[in-house]
């Protein structure tokens, strides 16, 4: 049976629904020995800002039950280094590339998108989990109006490039934020980013991260992610890309069942760099076993009531 694994995100067609999550696959080529990027639906690169960011002091990692907290502080090489040194070899390798961007204001996001519009990136992913300098440090992604402004600025600057807004689970009404992104012209939304968390060292009476607060990822966040993806997929007409705690093909297929168009693999790749490919292979095996020749028969097929 010939399987059709392709997925459409607006004008962009992905080879298959498995992508890497930003910040867990470097700039796309570091892990090629274990996971050739051209075999994946897309590679989403580490978030870049207008200028390089140094990130947070260490310790930056604390493992927790079924998950991990990270406090990298969005350390990155900066936009120009990304465009000039990281992007060309990744495109030359045949990968579909989604560039993840982060900024502090709609204006910064607009400038990032304008520069990327002139490059070979296939899509832009807009991380709105960073603190909003204009409104006092609250995550931009917590507020529908702030997300609408950022998505609008990207829409105006990105030319013909499709873009997806990566939502934060911190929003009190994630569907309202997703709808704001859709209305502002986003091609798709992706969710979830990490959940803020705290880990402490009881004997030393200290936080385990230098930054005190970190972002929780891994299997522990999966039920939260699945619920938010289900809610957004039910409410939106644009595609929803699901992520958060996916470690197996079954996890990935569950996200598709609740309505995700495609999925991203994050922390699982840190555990085993082959994870995205293993998951893709096992999705194929499952489809063969179930007699599905394309995923549209599963997508959003969750039975309620």
């Amino acid at each position: 049976m010939a399987l059709d694994l392709t997925v459409k995100l607006g004008p962009l067609t992905l080879k298959n629904p498995v992508m890497t999550a930003s910040g867990t696959f470097g700039y796309g080529l570091e892990l090629k020995k274990f996971c050739p990027p051209e075999l994946l639906g897309a590679v989403i690169t580490k978030g870049v800002s207008l200028t390089p960011w140094p990130g947070n002091p260490g310790p930056r990692l604390a493992e927790t039950a079924g998950g991990m907290l990270n406090a990298i502080g969005l350390q990155n090489m900066g936009l120009e280094a990304f465009v000039q040194t990281a992007l060309p070899p990744l495109k030359a390798a045949g990968a579909t590339v989604v560039a993840n961007i982060l900024g502090h204001s709609p204006e910064e996001y607009g400038r990032l998108a304008a520069r990327l519009a002139l490059t070979a990136v296939d899509m832009i992913e807009v991380n709105v989990s960073c603190p909003n300098v204009v409104c006092g440090g609250l995550a931009i992604g917590a507020e529908p109006s702030a997300v609408a402004e950022v998505a609008g600025a990207v829409r105006e600057s990105c030319g013909a490039k499709p873009f997806m807004v990566k939502l934060t689970p911190q929003a009190s009404d994630v569907v309202a934020v997703a709808l704001a992104a859709e209305t502002a012209g986003a091609t798709a939304v992706s969710l979830i980013n990490t959940l803020p968390g705290l880990a402490v060292d009881l004997e030393r009476r200290r936080p385990r991260l230098a930054n005190i607060i970190g972002g929780l990822s891994g299997p522990a966040v999966k039920p939260v992610a699945l619920k938010q993806v289900w809610q957004c997929a039910s409410a939106l007409t644009i595609p929803v890309v699901g992520l958060g705690g996916i470690t197996s093909a079954r996890d990935a297929l569950e996200f598709i069942l609740v309505g995700a168009a495609a999925v991203q693999i994050g922390t699982a790749t840190l555990v085993d760099p082959r994870a995205p490919l293993t998951i893709l292979d096992n999705i194929r095996q499952w489809m063969l076993k179930e007699g599905l020749d394309d995923l549209s028969q599963l997508r959003g097929a969750l039975k309620i009531g």
Binding site: G23, T24, F25, G26, Y27, L29, E30, L31, K33, F34, K46, P54, G55, P57, G58, P59, R60, L61, A62, E63, G66, G67, M68, N70, I72, Q75, T85, A86, A210, G218, P219, T247, S248, D251, T267, A268, T269, L270, V271, D272, P273, R274, A275, T278
Partner: protein
Amino acid sequence: MAAELDAVITEAGVLDNRPLSAATRLLVLDCPAVARAATPGRFVKLRAWPGPEENLGGPLLDRPFSIHRAEGGQLSLLYRIVGPATRLLSEVSPGAQVRLTGPLGRGLPEALTRRSGLYLVAGGIGLAPMALARDWLASAGGQATLFYGERTAAAQVEESWLKTWAGQDWVATVEDGSGYGRPGLVTEPLAQALQREARPIFACGPWPLLAAVANLARRYSAPALVSVEAGMACGLGVCLTCSLPLAVGGRFRACQEGPVVDALAVDWGAA
């Protein structure tokens, strides 16, 4: 951009997993693929429990361990039980399989002139990489003097076992004054030796020890290489959890530009 990875991911058979002190174990693995490429100071990441995809609980992340020795297709690790992952590892019996990814990171520089010898400085389980460093020096006629410090006698590895690889040229210290060796800190005999002859140093152990070694190296104008530790999620250079500060500003990845780095390159005052 990252150097080409020469690591492999492989299952390795456990040949031995035996106690050398109350909390220290020697794990011997049948693993020619990693043993072949092992050089002193490089490390592996290891998993001796189910992967997250099996949904059986257990630690999420693999754990990093220095390569203790590599000989004839066998790879050994020296580890201390400090938490859940190392406890699970201590329960693994000969015949079982563990998953290894490695060798990872940068070890002692190839260009090091081995014949001028090294002072090997180990704080606690920082003893782990010293055996391979000693073998490597010996193969080029270089002399190694080992300085091995522990806090308590209970933590010290069996003296008879230490002698099997460290030969005659070693000094042990123990802070509580019991056990074998001299009472006090490992930096005391090291400072005396540096005063006599300023040989290059290779040190591994807790951050404060490495910072003290960096100071001694500066004082005696001895080159010093240190193996640094940081929490590592991927061990492969992509997640940036293991980042440490450089003396000149900026940061480096302990798993990629390290774990073995020039002691003077590190900003010991920060973290």
